[in-house]
């Protein structure tokens, strides 16, 4: 077994064992929240890291899936049917949004995703008769996937972890697949890729659809966790937080967004118990990260590690 496999097994055991060690329900729920946000950040990273497309409207998919799931459940559908239809609806919206946003590239893409995200927020906020406006909607109860009760904090954590692991495996495979290579090619050298016969637009659009699908999965988990959805969960601030998670951790890596999600969610929870100026802190972290750590923590640490290792290797060789 290679070294990375050993690390993976250790990480998996550690993550599985969290509920056995952490007995406090508050901290366990925090861990579930981190997993949900990590999934959202990793899904955004399909666009950001592999595709080089900065989206400022990713929380829209969390919102579309959450609202759809609540509304369908309230309309009398079962848990499974409402979950599947909510994912389908949200991903279909992602397909349309992707077509619109990919009319432009670079900053234009960013602006269109921002505008689309704000429109989804605005509909959630203003369409009182459907979404109950600012007061949000309640979700009746958590589902029982495969007959398992996930109402208790440890069970919900394991459920979230399972979904997260599936998503992470999928996205990891994606990044190593020919499609992933084409996506990264379309990011770095779109003209050459086009010349080689790849349909750059289609590649980027598919990436957008996949990102919106996994973002929607995070949305389902979000509404299962909170049993509640309101426009606050899909504001511009939320989209920016997710983007910051990915950038802070390091968008060019698979693990970066996860680390970013851990840090931001912890800082947010810790900070909000002491001060109520979370938005200022978020803005300040944003500015500092962009100005002084544009490539994020994981690549930064990796670089330090390599620099630290390099002289020793030379010494050994000598």
């Amino acid at each position: 077994m290679s070294r990375s496999w050993i690390w993976l097994v250790i990480a998996a055991i550690a993550l599985l064992a969290v509920p056995l060690v952490v007995r406090n329900e508050f901290y366990l729920n925090l861990a579930s929240q981190i997993l949900i946000y990590a999934l959202l950040a990793v899904s955004l990273n399909i666009l950001l890291g592999y595709g080089g497309m900065v989206s400022l409207g990713h929380a829209a998919f969390l919102g579309l899936a959450s609202y759809a799931a609540v509304l369908l459940l309230n309309a009398g559908l079962g848990h499974l049917a409402s979950a599947v239809l909510a994912l389908a609806f949200s991903t279909a919206c992602g397909a349309v949004f992707g077509m619109l946003a990919l009319r432009a590239s670079g900053i234009g893409f960013l602006m269109i995703t921002l505008a689309l995200g704000q429109i989804v927020w605005g509909i959630a906020y203003r369409a009182n008769t459907i979404t109950n406006g600012d007061n949000g909607l309640r979700y009746a109860e958590r589902p029982h996937p495969f007959g398992i009760d996930i109402n208790h904090a440890p069970h919900f954590y394991w459920f979230t972890l399972a979904v997260f692991a599936i998503a992470l495996f999928f996205i990891w495979r994606l990044s190593r697949s020919p499609f992933g290579a084409a996506l990264q090619g379309a990011r770095d050298q779109p003209r050459r890729m086009r010349m080689l016969g790849h349909n750059v637009w289609l590649i980027q659009w598919l990436a957008f659809v996949l990102a919106s699908f996994w973002g929607s999965v995070a949305g389902l988990l979000f509404v299962y966790y909170n049993l509640f959805i309101s426009p606050h969960a899909i504001s511009l601030q939320q989209s920016a937080e997710v983007l910051l998670m990915a950038i802070l951790g390091g968008a060019s890596t698979l693990t970066g967004p996860i680390l970013g999600a851990i840090i931001i969610t912890l800082v947010k929870n810790v900070a909000s118990t002491y001060i109520d100026r979370w938005n200022s802190l978020l803005g300040a972290i944003f500015v500092i990260v962009i100005m002084f750590m544009p490539f994020g923590i994981v690549p930064g640490v990796r670089q330090l590690w390599l620099r630290w290792r390099a002289p020793r290797k030379q010494a050994r060789a000598a």
């Binding site: 432009a104 900053i107 509909i123 803005g283 100005m291």
Partner: protein, 286 residues
């Protein structure tokens, strides 16, 4: 009939406000290639500055002036000390403007609390003009006139002055402009500051109808984005037409279908993006 007249005037006045908001945004975007996502926060700051000046007994027009000046200074500082350090990193610049907008919004919440601040229209403009049996709200007409005067002023600035020629050169081909000795980096500051001043003035002029409240920034920013997506970045005419189009759609949307106002904004944006992705009058391929 009175309903349609009032709503039309409201739309025109709101379009004028949007023009003040988005013309500077669009010009800065055209020149610097970045959308200033703190522009909505600048507008909100303008509203709070104006409300504060009148709260302490200042005249309304003094408040407008103070708001323009105050926000303009903040714009200069922001451009010089933060954006400038990230020159060349367009994506970083955009994200920094977003981070700064969060800081501004949160500081506003801290200083002016969560309760909305009202700013009464100047007393001489409060009685409506009566004409042919209908009442026209005077203040809204004045806002519209100010927007038109600003539009004409900006047109002359851009089209007839040396400064405007240099800005247009920078928008069209920045490298050539630099090459022939135009101080493009100084223009960045000038245009960014101009945008901030206009946003600040717009904020105060908008306050009598919109109030100053937390969240005003995120309410206004998407409208400015949609104006620029519709009209095209860097185009004054595009910002003008886009502003009034969005003003009418948004205002009538809210009055007639309050639930769907945002959705109505979405449709023209989709149409323009599908048919002409550079916007109606876009000069800069975005």
């Amino acid at each position: 009939m009175q309903f349609w007249i009032i709503q039309t005037l409201n739309s025109i006045a709101f379009g004028g406000l949007l023009f003040l908001l988005s013309s500077g945004f669009s010009l800065a975007f055209g020149l610097m290639r970045i959308p200033n996502l703190a522009h909505g926060a600048f507008f909100m700051l303008g509203a709070y500055f104006g409300a504060t000046v009148t709260y302490y007994g200042g005249n309304f027009w003094l408040a407008v002036l103070a708001a323009g000046l105050g926000v303009g200074i903040i714009g200069i500082l922001f451009e010089r000390f933060i954006l400038r350090r990230l020159a060349g990193n367009v994506q970083g610049q955009v994200l920094v403007t977003l981070g700064v907008s969060f800081i501004i919004a949160d500081l506003c919440l801290m200083i002016w609390t969560g309760d909305p601040w009202t700013l009464p229209a100047p007393s001489e403009l409060r009685p409506p003009i009566r004409f042919a049996g209908f009442a026209f709200p005077t203040f809204r007409l004045v806002v519209f006139v100010i927007a038109i005067v600003t539009a004409v002023g900006l047109y002359f600035l851009m089209d007839r002055t040396r400064l405007g020629a240099m800005i247009r050169a920078g928008v069209d081909d920045m490298e050539m402009a630099r090459g022939v000795g135009i101080p493009v980096s100084l223009l960045f500051t000038v245009v960014f500051c101009l945008g901030a001043v206009l946003a600040g003035i717009g904020g105060t002029l908008g306050a009598p109808s919109l109030n100053a409240y937390p969240g005003l920034d995120t309410d206004m920013l998407p409208l400015a984005l949609i104006v620029v997506i519709l009209g095209g970045a860097g185009s004054l005419l595009g910002a003008f037409i886009g502003s009034f189009a969005v003003g009418f759609l948004y205002n009538f949307g809210i009055a007639l279908f309050p639930d769907l106002a945002y959705f109505i904004l979405f449709l023209p944006m989709v149409l323009v993006l599908v048919l002409m992705p550079q916007g109606l009058f876009g000069r800069v391929p975005s």
